[in-house]
Amino acid sequence: MGNNAGMKNMALAILLSALSVGVANAVDIPELHGFLEEAFAPRFGEDNTAHRQFNMAEGRLQLKTKYYVKGDNILADWQTVLTAKADLVLDMYYGGKVVTDLRELNAVMTPMDIMDLKIGRQVLTWGTGDYLFLNDLFPKDYESFFIGRDDEYLKAPSDALRVMLYPEWFNVDVAIIPFFRPNILPDGQRVSFFDSFQGGIAGRNSHRTLDEPARQFRNFIYAGRIYRNFSSYEAALYYYRGFDPSPRSYKDEAAMELFYERLDAYGASVRGPVMGGIGNAEVSYYYSPQDNAGKIRTVQNSMVKYLVGYEKDMGGDLRISAQYYLEETLDYDEYRKALLPNDYRWDEFRHTITGRITKLLANQTVKLSLFTFFSPSDLDVYTRPSITWNATDSWTLTIGANLPWGKDPWTDFGSDQKNKNVYVRLRYSF
């Protein structure tokens, strides 16, 4: 009897292991990776947002997986890779609300030797700036940036078809984005901001509305880039046809309604070795078709944006970098003439200088970083110190701060001055 039971168990074990090997071979279960993170950002600064004590208190689970299409089909022939990445957030800022955030769900394929396609939800990035974006008009999440989430969350995903061509002499990158997604900017709920309708920094007392472009074929967004290397130097040309991702124009002032005006951008950049470091330069011309002469006071004028940057490795795991950025409003005389007596008047030139220092310590397991924005024309500053400790290969502790200051409440960082915070993030990666 005992013997018989043993035999049965053994047979069962053999059957089960044979089955599991068979299943694993047939289905080829993709690997699942991600992280679990707790984040908290106590704040100092009095305003009218939902919580005075903190900007962020959340638990986050990120899961990501890849699947390589196999078998005798066209997708396998095109070496298709499916990627999915989603975050599940328990957001204590909003009373424990559970938020799902699909970051990526896309297919990458190579239908031709010289062509790759990426279809679906994806993060899009190009350009040469460090936290400064000229030709990269893809959506950003500045709210995440200001409250101390990981840099990954500064980029909001787009639903896009991306066509990448690699003929012999240059590369072409085209993104077609059917539906506009605006930048996620402070709106007074979590992070206060300058609301021109309130005439000052506003929180939940803001009553403005933002009018997004209609979901129509004519409102599709097209972004393109042509780039190539000239030995160690990278050169690129850029094109964008879409909408300003930040609401800068007024649709109906009485109704406190803002909108995202049409925007075309044409740009260029170079990047490469300069004096023992890396130098970069980028320019972009923003054409505002709804106010091409600059005479309409409620619609953003055309602009030119310029950037030069330099980064150097000083040795001993110390890196420093600096950028100079200039925004020039075109048709400025027309703009001034069009203003009414009580309007805010923006400067013709807005200058910004940034500096970054990064130092690695303890076999590169500790990273000290300090990034500072300073505008001598706006007289505002935003500094972001942080320390990251990779305690083990799995555990990472990050402590940092967001410290914006400004003379006036209406400038970029002055408008954010009530949101000084420190943040702590503890992450377990798997």
Partner: protein, 263 residues
């Protein structure tokens, strides 16, 4: 007595044929550099690096490295795909190694879809937090040091190398033992500005891979920090006929699975 004899022999040889020796040592160094970093025209390897700190705690780095020689002035291209640790999985790294000037380096961060250009003037800095320097992985320009043959020991040439630009490195000199048969360096000792030994790199295991002698296990030890890194190379392959196009932005974004996936 025997030692004194051999020193006398070496001194006599150096004195009598200094020019010949200088030419010979440069030839040995060139052959060692070739054997260590330029086997075949291209290759791949899965690399596991285990860093052990002074308290015995370990960290692991896992990556696949592809290499292709361009055939021009010793230039090479390297492609690195990170498998481990978890927070860097999927990141890719591209190095265009230049001899005599700074390398060109790019890092791709998939979460941001960001291709970052990496300033890379310090080749002595640690490679991904291990006890290996960038130069230990991709080679140090042989022309950057003056080389002297100190003698022969146990079938190995013993060579002293002194940097021509001492300010650019943290060592004052290093001594390498190069196997007389296969020209694979078996050990290197690095001495600081006070003449104290502070770092060694040892080839723990050398295997024949398709006719090319290959270091498949090596160890770097830092005596000041009390830490060491063991690097193990598996699934080493040469003469893959890799397309040079792989070493470009396109493949940073779309890793070439045929070379990266473990076979």
């Amino acid at each position: 007595m025997k030692n004194i004899m051999s020193i006398c022999v070496v001194v006599a040889l150096v004195l009598s044929a200094g020019h010949v020796r200088a030419a010979e040592v440069d030839d040995i160094v060139a052959k060692a550099n070739e054997a260590m970093y330029y086997q075949a025209g291209d290759g791949r390897a899965d690399v596991k690096m285990t860093v052990t700190d002074s308290l015995g705690r370990t960290r692991e780095r896992g990556m696949t490295i592809l290499r292709k020689d361009t055939g021009v002035d010793g230039k090479q291209k390297y492609y690195v795909y990170f498998h481990q640790p978890d927070d860097v999985r999927g990141m890719t790294y591209l190095v265009w190694k230049n001899v005599g000037t700074d390398d060109d380096r790019w890092l791709y961060l998939p979460a941001l879809d960001l291709v970052r250009r990496v300033a890379a003037s310090d080749k002595r800095s640690s490679f991904v937090g291990t006890n290996f320097a960038y130069e230990d992985i991709s080679g140090r320009g042989t022309e950057e040091d003056g080389h002297t043959l100190l003698g022969e020991e146990n079938g190995m040439y013993k060579i002293k190398s002194v940097p021509k630009d001492p300010g650019s490195v943290e060592f004052s000199y290093f001594i390498t033992w190069v196997d007389m048969n296969d020209f694979i360096p078996r050990k290197a000792e690095y001495y600081d500005k006070n003449g104290t030994l502070y770092k060694t790199i040892e080839a723990l295991e050398v295997k024949d891979v398709g006719g090319f002698p290959t270091v498949v296990k090596m160890k770097a030890t830092d005596f000041n920090a009390g830490s060491n890194t063991v690097s193990e190379f598996s699934d080493v392959k040469y003469d893959l006929g890799t397309d040079e196009n792989i070493f470009s932005e396109r493949f940073l974004r779309r890793p070439p699975r045929q070379y990266i996936d473990k076979q």
